[in-house]
């Protein structure tokens, strides 16, 4: 791991040095049309060299962090492992950090579980309500058939009676049409 880190460190130093000397990055983003457009819309004061105070502050914080780590762990390397173990038992910032601030779990509870619950409910509705409704509609024709099927009972006298009744109804209709039976 040492060699890649060295390569990265050397390159980072070179790039930083290059931009520090040449200011080559200063107007670079302006070449992107949309950013140039934004810059025209809201003109910023021209950059003056660098932001010394920002650079200084971040450098001081970084060095302080390195120094703190060195003071804690340089004399006794195993102290790091001890600290990790102690923090692992405790609750707090270390745990939060170790578990990625529980972002995955929060998503699981807020999005995934409700999503799956709604999905299962939809599946239930599909199977139990919509499909049954469809099948219910499909029962209509057979039901109507079953209701009028007894008429076709195969008994000749029954059909004869039916014919007589039909004839009477027809006759009544015709007579009514001629005005012989009341209106």
């Amino acid at each position: 791991m040492l060699v890649p880190l060295v390569v990265l460190a050397v390159c980072a130093a070179l790039v930083g040095g290059y931009f520090e000397v040449t200011h080559g990055f200063a107007d670079y983003l302006q070449q992107t049309p949309s950013i140039a457009y934004l810059a025209r819309q809201a003109p910023q004061p021209a950059a003056t060299g660098g932001h010394r105070e920002v650079m200084l502050t971040s450098a001081v914080i970084a060095l302080a962090g390195i120094g703190l780590a060195a003071a804690l762990y340089w004399p006794r390397r195993s102290a790091a492992a001890d600290a990790a173990r102690r923090a692992g038992q405790a609750v707090g910032f270390y745990q939060l950090s170790l578990r990625k601030f529980f972002i995955d779990e929060v998503y699981q509870v807020l999005l995934v579980w409700p999503g799956l619950a709604v999905a299962r409910a939809s599946d239930w509705i599909d199977q139990r309500i919509i499909d049954r409704l469809v099948n219910f509609v499909g029962r209509f024709p057979p039901a109507v058939g079953a209701a009028i099927r007894p008429v076709q009972n195969g008994l000749i006298p029954f059909y004869a009676v039916g014919m007589v009744f039909g004839l009477l109804v027809l006759l009544a209709a015709v007579l009514m049409g001629w005005g012989w039976l009341g209106t």
């Binding site: 709604v118 999905a119 469809v134």
Partner: protein, 551 residues
């Protein structure tokens, strides 16, 4: 009738000729008969693909119609003017659906090769008859001919599901058949009403779709009649799509159908519904379309979300993909019913895209099933280690299905969503709040789509290896990765998945002019936000039957 028109007719009926050849195939020995059926079917679909590929390739960009055959009296009363013509032709709307059909049939035959070992002769004959029906339905220029092909697709598929399906196949086949037939009978009434209205107004009894289109643009139906006819057409087309809540036959039919049946059903037959809307409802009943738009958009958006949610809850891979079809077809319909240029183009392109990706997904599920004899997601895990080639194709089809930029799904989905957003935000008419809610829900549906598809791939193909125990008593051949035959069935789909994804304009340019012409009236009616006097249609070049009148 030029040579291209003859070629088109040959391409449509070649599969039927193949079916006849298979039915009459000479060998008596069962094995020889099986082999003869397979190879004859393969030859028929390849030759059909070559012919239709030639036709599609020669379709002149920028023109409305191509390879048109007219004047062939079919039946009716030629002297009395009630002439039903055997008239076929390609236009921008039918072009890619026609091409897709001949392409997917190669996949269908390739996935049946080993999977079907009972009644091979009947199986391949029916599959080829089905191909003629599907090719014809997209090319018919006569309204009766359209309906004949429309119904002709039902019968072969009924038998394909009912005979070669899995355990619950009879119930599935009957449900599919009755559901579709009940709807399509109402559609037939609607089509007759269109013919009748045109006759009552112009005293010309014509069944030609283009003549009816321009006739109804010149003399539109009164709005109440338009609404009634629209609902009649809707009954058949919405079942076919299927639009929520008329979809319950679909998962059942898909789960029970043999793999090739699922491929063809999802890939092509569902598209006939959307095709019908764009071919008949939008051009002939523009005001009804505009009036019903809030309902249609609402149903489409509901279907997107509902289909995606139900897909998320499925334990069976095939059912999951079947419900994903409900969601994806909701997208297509949303674009079409947005009734503007981008929406309609996106919707029609997305129908082709869905055919490619979902056809491929069903083929892959079939290949997985052939190896392990189960479709339960929980039986699988880490299969990518055992079957890396299958996993590769599965992931590719999944990414196409969820609309990864660079693949076909993105082009269609993006266009139709932009169309819908235009309708919701740039328009000023209609229930904008509903349109906006539908647009947002549709985008949310894209996210749900990624969720259920990627989760499926993760559970089945990644993680620790968990192979289903192959059933006891079955001779278990060693599980092998995809064979050359299976790869050959998938590669054509992959080619078009990339082609449409990388160069969608090639496809859009060829469908654009016809779509503009077909949907101009509906677009204008939607922009007016409802009906107006018919006179304003009469002034348009389209109503005057000007073929070049492209906006």
């Amino acid at each position: 009738m030029d040579n291209w028109a003859i070629l088109l007719q040959v391409a449509i009926f070649l599969p039927s000729a193949g079916a006849l050849a298979i039915a009459l195939a000479w060998p008596r020995k069962p094995e020889a008969q099986q082999a003869a059926s397979r190879f004859l079917a393969l030859a028929a679909v390849l030759l059909t693909f070559a012919l239709s590929g030639l036709l599609v390739a020669r379709f002149p960009a920028g023109s409305v119609e191509f390879a048109v055959s007219t004047g062939a009296f079919w039946f009716g009363d030629a002297r009395g003017g009630a002439e039903i013509q055997f008239s076929l032709g390609l236009d921008g709307l039918s072009l890619w659906l026609f091409g897709l059909t001949s392409l997917l049939m190669i996949t269908a035959v390739a996935v049946s090769w080993k999977a079907i070992d009972r009644h091979c002769r009947a199986y391949y004959s029916l599959l080829l008859v089905l191909e003629t029906g599907m090719l014809g339905v997209f090319c018919a220029r006569d309204i009766i001919l359209f309906y004949v092909f429309f119904e002709a697709t039902l019968i072969p598929l009924f038998f394909l599901i009912g005979v070669w399906g899995s355990s619950d196949r009879r119930y599935a086949a009957i449900k599919f058949f009755l559901f579709t037939l009940a709807g399509s009978l109402l559609t037939f009434l609607g089509l007759l009403a269109i013919v009748w209205w045109n006759y009552s107004q112009s005293r010309v009894m014509t069944f030609s779709i283009w003549e009816l289109t321009s006739g109804l643009m010149r003399r539109p139906m009164p709005v109440p009649l338009q609404l009634a006819v629209f609902l009649a057409l809707f009954a058949g087309f919405a079942v076919k799509v299927p639009l929520f809540p008329l979809h319950t036959w679909l998962p059942l039919a898909h789960v029970e159908a043999p793999t090739a049946g699922s491929v063809v059903l999802a890939g092509i037959l569902l598209k006939i519904g959307g095709y019908g809307f764009v071919r008949f409802s939008l051009p002939m009943l523009p005001e009804a379309t505009a009036l019903l738009m809030p309902w249609l958009v609402g149903l489409s958006a509901a279907g997107i979300i509902y289909g995606a949610l139900v897909a998320l809850a499925q334990a069976d891979i095939k059912r999951l993909i079947a419900y994903s079809s409900v969601s994806h077809l909701g997208f297509c319909m949303l674009g079409i019913f947005a009734a503007n240029r981008l929406g309609i183009q996106g919707g029609v392109l997305q129908m082709v895209n869905h055919g490619l990706s979902t056809g491929g997904l069903f083929a892959l599920v079939g290949m997985l099933y052939e190896r392990y004899h189960t479709r339960e997601i929980k039986d699988y895990g880490g299969i990518a280690r055992r079957l890396p080639v299958l996993a590769f194709f599965m992931l590719l089809m999944t990414l196409s299905s969820i609309g990864l930029p660079g693949l076909n799904g993105f082009a269609g989905e993006f266009l139709l969503l932009v169309g819908m957003f235009q309708r919701a935000w740039a328009g000023s008419l209609g229930p904008l709040a509903l349109y906006r809610a539908a647009s947002v829900l549709a985008v949310f549906g894209v996210v749900l789509g990624a969720w259920y598809m990627l989760w499926l791939v993760e559970r089945v193909f990644f993680g620790p290896l968990r192979e289903p125990a192959v059933e006891q008593g079955q001779p278990s051949p060693p599980i092998r990765d995809l064979s050359a035959r299976e790869v050959a069935g998938l590669v054509p789909l992959v080619v078009f998945i990339f082609w449409i994804g990388l160069q969608p304009s090639f496809f859009l340019n060829r469908m654009g002019p016809a779509l503009d012409r077909l949907t101009a009236a509906a677009v204008r009616a939607a922009e007016r936000g409802g009906p107006a006097g018919g006179d304003r249609f009469a002034e348009t070049s389209i109503a005057k039957g000007d073929l070049g009148g492209v906006e």
